[in-house]
């Protein structure tokens, strides 16, 4: 867990409003990163965006010592980031959070991602090269569809869907999941997406209580390291609801524990 300056190696557009940024830590020192962890990036020239923005670590190239994340422009901070140029310096803290964890016995792993929720999932391929992956990716419409090639290459099957049916199967990703889960019957599900999707997912998974589901949760953050208690997420444990820190106790929780 360090905070340091990075050099922007690349900041490319993946599709309208979605970018991929690649950074190199200026210390040259490499941190060990677990899949599903995130980094927090300072917004340059920030009058009303003092806080760092959290982004899932999309890829980490240990050899080149380059770390990348993908992001969607949704507000002031991401807007600023999208205008950052190659060669600029950015501060950031990494690696943060707990990450996904796949046990020895879990061989068949299904990844379920909605929209920008697919980003944290990509890092598991590299971290667990021996597993068999199935990817279910959902987007609003054709023009939002991204990174399918990257996921396809590393999955034994990719199910793509768009809400308006303009590409892949038509409808919500959770419905595509419902149609395919019996057939795939994974040992573990890893998932990330907006709250409504997670709620629908809970409903779909009601019939498969034996399949563990790990979800990566989003909440607004300040420190990013677990000290300020700003990023609360209500988690039910042994019947009691307690507030956990998304940045430290998460961002990955069991779907069955988090109060959505």
């Amino acid at each position: 867990m360090v905070e340091e300056s990075f050099t922007v190696m690349d900041n490319i557009k993946l599709c309208e409003g979605v970018y991929k940024m690649t950074l190199m830590p200026s210390s040259g020192y490499a941190q060990s990163i677990k899949c599903g962890q995130f980094m927090a990036v300072e917004v340059p020239c920030r009058q009303d965006s003092l806080l760092k923005r959290p982004f899932a670590i999309y890829n980490y190239d240990e050899e080149k010592r380059q770390i990348s994340f993908c992001y969607k422009v949704v507000g002031k901070g991401t807007e600023h980031l999208s205008r950052v140029e190659k060669g600029q310096a950015l501060r950031g803290a990494y690696p943060l959070g707990n990450g996904f964890k796949i046990d020895e016995g879990q061989k068949r792993v299904i990844l379920v991602g909605g929209g920008v929720g697919i980003f944290p999932l990509y890092s598991v391929f590299k971290a667990y090269p021996d597993k068999v992956f199935y990817s279910v990716m959902g987007f609003k419409e054709r023009c939002d569809v991204i990174l399918t090639k990257e996921f396809e290459e590393r999955s034994s099957e990719l199910i793509l869907c768009t809400e308006d049916g303009s590409m892949g199967e038509a409808g919500f990703v959770t419905e595509a999941l419902r149609r395919n889960i019996e057939r795939i019957m994974p040992d573990l599900m890893l998932c990330c997406g907006p709250r409504p999707m997670l709620k629908a997912l809970k409903d779909v998974m009601r019939n498969y209580p034996h399949i563990p589901v790990q979800v990566s949760i989003e909440e607004r953050m300040a420190c990013g390291i677990g000290a300020c208690l700003v990023c609360a997420c209500a988690v039910r444990k042994n019947g009691k609801v307690v507030n956990k820190r998304v940045c430290r106790d998460g961002p990955v929780f069991s779907l069955y524990e988090v109060e959505l």
Binding site: L50, L51, E219, A222, C223, A227, L229, V230, V242, N243
Partner: protein
């Protein structure tokens, strides 16, 4: 080299920089980032008598030059704190200030008694909390209630642990409330706590915070905090801990010039994890460059003709 050490209420601080309550947890996380024994002191997250889960998220909003938080005193309760956290904090050889909050006088007194028996160094009384008896008005908004709560807490403490009263800026006259704390027997005052504020999302037409209002902190409040420290310094004889928007060593010096003997750094920790460390280094440099032998010379030395 300049002497950065400050003796404050009989306690030795390596330097005048204290990590402010609520932004530094109980030190564990920052200890993974840098050696926190470099700090003058650490003020803990606000502790209550019983465990509290705090408010619903979102608990944070960004504003121009600041942040609004509505954490709502999430903490494990005083007993668990003393058992599980105090030891770790004390192991770093830095002054440990326990920040406490209650909703009744009884709660404050019970906590103060328990802590005064512990190896903690000082207590900081957070009086910005709603007083259930007075129908939600905070303890810190009226001079009379500040004096009375200070007196009661002081009386319930065993031994000679110093008591700091942390003043709320949401008052008509800061000198009046500082004097009230002094008359109640406070050994020092710290100021300012956050200023109540609010942020609105024009897209959803809702408040950004689930709690509607929150506490404003960060560089945007510095001019208000400086003015209040300046006014308090001229009103009381007890020493002062200044805070509110300190981001750099120069900011810390400004507070000292206005009358602070020590400073606390809050929001800056959230923005740059090593903020306190950098400020300490910056103070050393400032003293060197300005020929200051003992940093306490700065306290109250503002030139106003």
């Amino acid at each position: 080299m300049a002497n950065l050490e400050v003796t404050f209420c009989g306690k030795k601080f390596k330097n005048p920089v204290i990590a402010a309550s609520g932004t530094f947890g109980f030190g564990r996380e920052y200890a993974e980032v840098y050696d926190i024994s470099a700090l003058g002191g650490i003020a803990t997250k606000g502790i209550t008598l019983k465990r509290r889960e705090g408010n619903s998220p979102p608990r944070i909003a960004e504003t121009y030059g600041g942040i609004l938080n509505s954490v709502g005193l999430q903490n494990p309760g005083v007993r668990e704190f003393l058992e599980k956290e105090l030891g770790f904090l004390k192991s770093h050889g830095t002054v440990v200030i326990v920040n406490i909050a209650g909703s009744t006088e009884g709660e404050y007194c019970e906590m103060a008694r328990l802590i005064s028996r512990s190896e903690a160094d000082m207590i900081e009384l957070n009086i910005s909390c709603p007083n259930v008896k007075e129908g939600g008005l905070t303890f810190g908004s009226r001079p009379e209630s500040i004096e009375s709560i200070t007196r009661l807490v002081k009386a319930s403490m065993e031994g000679d642990m110093p008591l700091i009263v942390k003043l709320s800026p949401n008052v008509a006259s800061i000198s009046e409330v500082a004097v009230a704390a002094e008359e109640g027997g406070a050994d020092a005052v710290s100021l300012i706590n956050t200023i109540t504020g609010m942020a609105v999302d024009v897209r959803t037409r809702r408040p950004v915070l689930a709690n509607i209002t929150g506490g404003l902190s960060g560089p945007c409040i510095k001019p208000i905090a400086l003015r209040m420290v300046y006014e308090a310094y001229r009103a009381v004889k007890i020493p002062i801990i200044g805070m509110g928007g300190i981001m750099t060593a120069e900011d810390a010096v400004e507070f000292m010039l206005c009358g602070a003997s020590l400073v606390q750094v809050g929001t800056a920790n959230l923005i740059r994890l090593d903020a306190c460390k950098r400020i300490i280094e910056g103070l050393e440099k400032y003293c060197l460059e300005n020929g200051i032998k003992d940093i306490s010379e700065l306290t109250g030395s503002l030139i106003t003709e």
